[in-house]
Symmetry: C2
Subunit: 272 residues, 2 copies
Amino acid sequence: MEIICIGNELLIGKTLNTNAQWLAKRATAAGFTVKRITVVEDDVAAIASVIRESLQRKPKFIITTGGLGPTFDDKTLEGIAEALNRKLEINEKALEMIKEKYEAYAKTGKIEKVELTPARVKMAKLPENSKPLPNPIGTAPGVILEVDETVLIALPGVPSEMEAICEGSVVPLLREKAGDVTFYEASIYVSGIMESTLAPFIDKTMHDNPHVYIKSHPKGGEKEPHIELHFSTTAKSSKIAKDRVGKALVQLSELVKKEGGKVILTQKLAKQ
Amino acid sequence: MEIICIGNELLIGKTLNTNAQWLAKRATAAGFTVKRITVVEDDVAAIASVIRESLQRKPKFIITTGGLGPTFDDKTLEGIAEALNRKLEINEKALEMIKEKYEAYAKTGKIEKVELTPARVKMAKLPENSKPLPNPIGTAPGVILEVDETVLIALPGVPSEMEAICEGSVVPLLREKAGDVTFYEASIYVSGIMESTLAPFIDKTMHDNPHVYIKSHPKGGEKEPHIELHFSTTAKSSKIAKDRVGKALVQLSELVKKEGGKVILTQKLAKQ
């Protein structure tokens, strides 16, 4: 799985990329491994290039965020169409979804009349052989299409809309495609021992528990050693996953304690 | 300029990528255009691949974050070395920096004796023809090297350390290389008008002000139209930049008001 975030606001540091984190968390929980997140500018050629590169790596899913709205700087669908060498064409189902939205806005008095201006029709111009995904919150529908073995999904950049389309249409699909796979993670917090001293203990524990990935996250630098040790695994059942993580967690905790380190199982320290 | 963030914690959604935003903001303020941000896993081949792809696009700078520490999962320098086909070798200056750090830790009683274990020496193993950058806060030095026309800088993933090395060693270099270039940005907040109605006004204003980039950021969806219009430009002096943005801002504000929209110049709405 790859995530592609489109938007100059991310590249000038104006906006924090919370969408990427939200999507990565959901995809991981559904049993997928996110291999890459790419942020690219609002430019058709740049978007097309990132999509093409990603397709070459043959991920099961590519999810894009941003660039589906009515303004000129919303260029995602044009970029995808260019990458796939497909035409952009008005999708009748998408146009119907958009029309219904503006009819509802007109009823509440937000707009005077339902007029399908070029800017509004733009949101219904999808690459050939795409399907729109209903947007329960905003106007621009999401888009789903297939390219060989990859499912490509385009979601809006407004977080509430991205999340609503994802929960409604994408997460169920991810769960179905992932099959019986569970991701499990847990952390311990260690103090009184330096990260460089821990290194060989982590190596040993990972060697003895080959399915568990352990990553150390130093907090506050080596001067005040306080390290989060994060354990994670993906397994066919949550019992297997929990047992695996539990075994590795106990082994590493014992090694830390023997060296005089203090182990805290709650997340209290992390919130300091 | 490209930013590459290395760390599984970013790909599982455990950690929000604040480093990318911080770096993007600094680089933009220094006059650079960040063209791409890539997040990649803690894997030597994957890191090497991302570095190689980035170098092919010939950016002036590549800045990486993460993966410089003492543990096995810190693989950035190995990835860079593989990408550049350079050997990793103990850099005497880096080793000296690291030794001084542990001597200081020993004085404060954090460790019993200064022992340069393999995990500690690892942080001094840099790709050939690199220079270490002093880390005022943590232990692992940053790394700087040149590949053809690209300057490649590797910074740690712990935000406080990344920021300290960047402020001390990287920002001055960026300012020097950027020359006389200023980035300027301003926003207005618009309500009572839909994004799709605004679209042609933005087109017209950008057409009349070709050096100003205007991006609309809908907040709260089209149902409760409240849109941030963000203006930005890069120019040779801050006066030119401000004048340009000011002219575009006034023009678009007038167009919005004529259509019955409300324009707010302060950032109050954005903080709601």
